[in-house]
């Protein structure tokens, strides 16, 4: 495919995602406002009102109903979108599992935010990470550009005939949703050819079937097993779609993980989401001083890229994994996944937990932790309090 230079715009994260949604042309939207996602809903309503997006915006009374209504629309053959955050995502949880188990192609954007109690509207990944077993593909953006790119790719991935799974696109609340950045947006015609109208439907109206049926144990476990296989299959599909997007946008998409100066690195920091940018700065500063450090950014969290993580990290002298979410009684969530990837390899893995409830994390924090790691002075788990 031919690379056509996109248009450069200055957009806040929410508007960039709304723009991507407009270009993807969903037919049904149901979004319930919640901080920090609200401005995205406002923008989408504006698009619908002005007729730029020919979609039905269903006004719902809750996040649960939002997902329930687009679930129905998606089963009936429409392309659908919703967005939420934090408590809204928790309220949506019951329907998340229905959509995942039923394998309905849905795209949801999650403007990640802390969970109550105590109340906080600021950014961390607890809401997003808590949904890791809902049979949803989960991807996370580092910056506004990536949030735009992943939203467009999400529609393709979710509707791919070998996948047929809902996709959740996470991007950090306020840090990305309300920050204006330079974004290269694709031309509408390019997006149109990248995401053609949906070719298949879950139900055939001439041959009625029951959706969301009751399943006896032997069917239930088989259906779950197929969902597991679909998740595994989706890895290849996601990589293919990323590569295809690279060709039309001219921007590198890296795959399931992005390796930044990590190929020859002895010490690697692993992160996900917006603070990968801070980690990048820390890595650059240490490289300038001759330290062999690198960054491995996880872009796709479910399905988790075990092979890629293992390939990049197995020869390291030390790994530092940054977690913006915590599994209480267990440990950082990302660090546990990394440890599983490295099972059988003798690589010390350290955990850095921080940024909960919007606590500011700067490149210096990461730099200090990396320096301590290299000196052998880093504890197994450090909290940035």
């Amino acid at each position: 495919m031919q690379v056509t230079k996109g248009v450069v715009k200055a957009l806040v994260g929410n508007h960039a995602v709304a723009y991507a949604v407009k270009q993807a042309k969903p037919q049904v939207l149901a979004v319930y406002p919640i901080t920090p996602q609200t401005t995205m809903l406002e923008k989408l309503s504006e698009y619908v009102d002005r007729g730029e997006l020919k979609a039905r915006m269903i006004r719902v009374e809750s996040e649960h109903s939002a997902l329930a209504s687009i679930y129905g629309a998606a089963v009936a053959g429409a392309r659908v979108f919703t967005a939420t955050a934090s408590q809204g995502l928790l309220y949506m949880t019951e329907m998340l599992y229905w959509a995942g188990g039923q394998r309905v192609p849905i795209v949801a954007a999650v403007a990640t935010r802390a969970l109550a109690s105590p109340w906080s509207i600021l950014d961390d990944h607890q809401d997003f990470m808590s949904k890791r077993d809902a049979i949803w593909i989960q991807m996370m953006a580092e910056n506004v550009q990536e949030a735009y790119d992943l939203t467009i790719q999400a529609f393709r991935i979710s509707e791919h005939e070998n996948v047929v799974l809902p996709v959740m696109m996470g991007f950090d609340g306020f840090i990305l949703t309300h920050t204006m950045e330079r974004v290269e947006v694709l031309h509408d015609s390019v997006v149109d050819s990248f995401i053609p109208p949906r070719k298949f439907n879950l139900v055939d109206f001439t041959d009625p079937v029951g959706v969301g049926p009751v399943a006896p144990p032997e069917d239930y476990i088989r259906i779950r097993f197929e969902a597991k296989k679909a998740m595994e299959r989706s890895k290849r599909v996601i990589k293919e779609i990323f590569r295809e997007y690279e060709d039309i946008s001219g921007r590198p998409q890296h795959g399931l993980v992005e390796c930044f100066m990590c190929r020859d690195a002895d010490y690697v920091v692993v992160s996900m989401g917006a603070w990968s940018g801070d980690a990048r700065v820390a890595v650059k500063r240490l490289r300038e001083r001759g330290a062999k450090v690198g960054l491995l950014k996880v872009r796709v969290f479910r399905p988790f890229p075990f092979e890629e993580v293992r390939d990049y990290l197995r020869d390291c002298k030390g790994v530092l994994v940054m977690d913006r979410a915590y599994s209480f009684g267990s440990g950082g969530i990302l660090v546990n996944e990394v440890k599983v990837s490295l099972y059988g390899h003798d690589v010390p893995v350290h955990s850095l937990v921080g940024g909960l409830g919007g606590m500011d994390v700067r490149p210096l924090h990461i730099q200090t932790a990396l320096e301590n790691l290299m000196e052998g002075k880093l504890e197994e788990e450090r909290w940035l309090l």
Binding site: Q102, R103, V164, F200, D207, F225
Partner: protein, 88 residues
């Protein structure tokens, strides 16, 4: 037809596949058609959707699935539906 990947849970309901609930019945609703005014209240109220309308708009009960709950008899404004003891 759709070419779906395996593992999408869909059911193909057929007669009796979800249980012949008609066997649960203790009382059997019987419509006295001479009193029926075709108001269709029983049709709208039937919780199990077992009352169908015939071409002449008279209601007809599907005894294969009717559980005999008696809602139709309660809502009938002309008391045209009588709950009679089921005789096996």
């Amino acid at each position: 037809m759709i070419n779906l990947p395996p593992g999408v849970p869909l059911a193909r309901p057929s007669l009796g596949s979800s249980g012949q609930t008609g066997t649960w019945r203790v009382l059997r609703p019987v419509i006295h058609y001479n009193k029926c005014t075709k108001c269709r209240l029983c049709f709208f109220y039937c919780v199990e959707n077992t009352i169908d309308l015939e071409l002449n708009m008279f209601p007809k009960i599907d005894y294969q699935y009717c559980k005999g709950c008696g809602v139709c008899a309660q809502v009938c404004p002309t008391a045209a539906i009588e709950m009679m003891r089921e005789v096996k």
